[in-house]
Symmetry: C2
Subunit: 293 residues, 2 copies
DNA sequence: TAGATTGTTAATCGATTAACAATC
DNA sequence: TAGATTGTTAATCGATTAACAATC
């Protein structure tokens, strides 16, 4: 039960782009890339406090990782530290910023200005690091024309022109799930090659387009999984004696359950009736009939 | 870490293995747990279309993963498929739901009712799968008393009572970063053991408490990293000939740069002047002086 | 039965970590 | 110099994937 579970990729993105990209751009591992923003944030805080240098130990603590990992991560960027001394804060801020591409301007469009779109438009961290909201877009005539975060909401029809003239390469999708793929297609068609998806849908994109997703409900479900196991009386699924039984016993047990037909539905009271071919027992079935006492 | 909440699954069979179970709950890999919600979503869609069975190939496509991975994932749960046929949709929906703990009710508190808190309170996916907003909380007297998503915003002072009486074990933090750790401490003290953090801060929690974070600005920075490399005109950092040079050459180059003192600032125009001890050149320095043509 | 598809194996790949030589 | 701390190595761990025997 690791504390923090600073989820190497809280990103929760199975990185759809990674497969076809020259495996790892520049040889920097994805896991390392995902941590660079964390280091940068910690370094920025140190910088604001005018701290001149920091050791891997201190910086790692601030970023919530261990120091060996941090040093390994930095080793992919180059040798930016000084043995016996540590890292120069300002210098490292600059190097990581540059590595992440934050020394340039990234115009972004947000599509779907509902509650979440509003929240994102107002998000301070947006503008802070090179990202700039180029436009807010919505398909709903009732929303178009209103303002959010001081910007007018424009109609989807303007998408192509905005992307082209403002050189937008990053799009944020905050539409309802039903509209997400369609919006995604249109963004890609217009020239956007990186998409941050807040809609709970799997997006299909052509090669060369990166998608990352942020999914509240998935995060909550992962928490629930672990929470369920803290409570003490865990469901026994998959942890029954069956799991530790030798192969032949398991096979025999499965066969018996199949023959019996309805054992599972009995035990798991709210389970749907099993009518289809896959009606096999899971490992949490009552196996008292076939297991030695 | 044990908290006083009703046993979530008291109807389950006793678990003889619980006592000696290793830390990783049930031996299901984290990566697999993180994908279960994805499978569940795809299965739910199939269920709504009354599709009775699905093959690993079809389901994998719908979830955006490859089928070998899906079958491996499912193998951790048990044998819920039928060779030659596939998986029973309804049955699998139930099994995964139960595995994730979604067959029980999860009351959740949201702390910090700004734009994002509002958005989350209104988020449909929240209620859909066992999660229920038990309370909205804020410290600002101007916000307290207003309503969001039909619920009254209550004062932080009520936190402890709400958590205790409603058996809340999951908290969502949508406060400004400066308040996040303090709010987190208070949630933990009150008995919350799972936290979903939207504030851009690293939270420190005691053992037994899980934290997951959702961080827009980190996601954007990761996209920017990859985007930068698509553009074609990559910065040369870390990709210079130096990286491919043999050790001795690198060492010599570093030494020379150190002696020269200001080489880097020249080349990287916006780099901060290097004044501190760690003022070494990075791999993108101009090395023409020491590298063979 | 013949065809289809699962569940599992084993090879591979990538990420983490402790330890320590290099070196400031 | 002596102490401190990096950068790197190597061991380990965990995740992915293709392939295929088992079996419906």
């Amino acid at each position: 039960m690791a504390i923090g579970r600073p989820s190497p990729s809280s990103s929760q993105t199975p990185d759809p782009g990674a497969a076809r990209r020259p495996s790892r751009a520049r040889g920097i591992p994805e896991a390392t890339v995902a941590r660079l923003p964390l280091y940068l944030r910690a370094l920025t805080a140190l910088s604001e406090r005018s701290v001149p240098t920091v050791s891997s130990e201190e910086l790692a603590a601030a970023a919530g990782v261990n120091s060996a990992k941090l040093r390994k991560d930095f080793s992919y960027l180059g040798s930016y530290g000084t043995r016996g001394v540590g890292y120069d804060v300002e210098y490292l801020v600059y190097q990581i910023s540059r590595e992440l591409g934050l020394t340039q301007d990234w115009p972004v469009v947000i599509v779907g200005i509902g509650n979440l779109g509003h929240a994102l438009a107002n998000y301070g961290g947006f503008a802070s690091r090179g990202f700039r909201v180029a436009a807010l877009l919505d398909a709903d005539p009732n929303v178009v024309g209103s303002t959010a975060a001081g910007l007018p909401v424009r109609h989807m029809d303007e998408l192509e022109e905005i992307v082209a003239t403002q050189h937008v390469s990053i799009g944020v999708i905050t539409t309802p799930p039903g509209a997400a793929q369609q919006v995604c297609d249109r963004l890609v068609e217009a020239g956007v090659t990186s998409i941050l998806n807040f809609a709970p849908t799997v997006l299909t994109v052509p090669d060369g387009v990166d998608v990352r997703k942020v999914d509240l409900s998935i995060e909550l479900q992962i928490l629930a999984f672990h929470e369920q196991r803290k409570a003490g009386d865990e469901p026994s699924a998959g942890d029954s004696v069956l799991d530790r039984a030798p192969g032949p016993v398991r096979a025999a047990a499965a066969k018996l359950r199949r023959a019996a037909g309805g054992g599972k539905a009995e035990q798991a009271k709210t389970a749907p009736a099993k009518t289809a071919p896959a009606a096999k027992g899971g490992p949490d079935d009552d196996l008292s009939a076939v297991m030695p006492a």
